[in-house]
Symmetry: C2
Subunit: 236 residues, 2 copies
Amino acid sequence: MTERLQSIAISGADALDVLRNASLSQVVQGEIEKIILSGAFAPGEKLNEKVLADRLGVSRGPVRESFQALHARGLVEMIPNRGVFVQQITRHDAVAIYDVRAGLFGTACRLLAERITTAQIGALKSLVAQMDVAGSQRDLEAYFPLNIAFHSAIVTGTNNSVLADTYFGMVRRLHLFRARGLVHGGGFESSNIEHRVILDALDVRDPHAAFEAGFLHVQAGKARIVTSGDGSPASP
Amino acid sequence: MTERLQSIAISGADALDVLRNASLSQVVQGEIEKIILSGAFAPGEKLNEKVLADRLGVSRGPVRESFQALHARGLVEMIPNRGVFVQQITRHDAVAIYDVRAGLFGTACRLLAERITTAQIGALKSLVAQMDVAGSQRDLEAYFPLNIAFHSAIVTGTNNSVLADTYFGMVRRLHLFRARGLVHGGGFESSNIEHRVILDALDVRDPHAAFEAGFLHVQAGKARIVTSGDGSPASP
DNA sequence: GTTTTGCAAATTGCTGACAATATGCACGTG
DNA sequence: CACGTGCATATTGTCAGCAATTTGCAAAAC
């Protein structure tokens, strides 16, 4: 058992404690997910059961179980008797996912507008202010985590875990598209203006305006990928 | 192989063709899902691997794989070393799911408003008219499938499979709550009035009004379950 | 030269068996 | 009589192995 845990600890340090609360399949699933989202496997690439099992130091059983979960989450594609492949996200798919993400984020804004506390408003204001600074300095490294924190604060602030899980699931799936390098950081100057519109709607607790602002903000992000490359692997 | 297929054909007739395109795990998953949603297993009830495997005529492997997929879809709960249980939906959970469903349905209405064809509008008008008839006759048996068709037409009409899958996933999860018999058909008179509001917004292709109408329509459905019983198994 | 055929290797799908953990119950103890 | 202890049973978690399918490649046929 000790040797197995060691071999699992390829990418995690606290694997020992993890296994007390999660089955090996769950750990394996997390590892494979990390590998996929890290971009180590390109979309459309095949995931060999045995290779993954050996790499993680487990047998094929847990790996196969993980595949089912990852498939249900839209991260891999399964073809009977052929194998499992990293889900390919076409531009059409990305647009569809973006639309859902926009609807979910708008919904989060709307729900939050009805229950937001002054403390939450303050936290969001702080984030927007920090993004203003990072934006004026063209500091993408600083802007990115703040941007994520802003969105996360809104989504998790609704206290609706189903909404949060679904939303982050869409974000994860979009990572498969981002892995192609089509989503660049461009346009983050206008992005914070939109953040302010959202914040204003939340500040006055206007659900209607909050949805609209949140929805359009994500749609603006979608517009960027739509106008960029076609998402195909290097057309000649 | 023949005997296995026969034993699978417990609830399905065309299992032979199915196995050509789907793995045994997928078939087993569908069967277990049917069993769960049929209410044969109560929420919170344990799903014994061996019992299910024997019942479906397969070994535990495919059953365990199915559990992972069902867990990812929010239909079962998994506790390490303890087992798998039918997901329990508290009233709080149901409210959360309803809010997400409302957001998704509103989003579907909004997206559809921008691209709806006259043929689609005609089909929706027909459904609303039929529901008017069924409603005036208090014919719940006729009203229900029409109601589902109306919602499905809107959601699938967006041509966004991600949106549709996510929406129907929420509906499925709500079935776990419905199984307790808390959602009664009451209020279906006002329901069709709301349908008409949605239809009007789609007819004039007003995305803003369409979202609002769709969102509030589902929220009205949520209000019914909130005001009904508390969702606990028989309080004394 | 291109296509088709046939075999060998690799891979998937599934099953049965073994180790680890949890459960239930009888028993003893305070 | 309540409560904890220890063992037998049941169940879960994982693994190794076998059948079925696919894949890759070489040889033959056109």
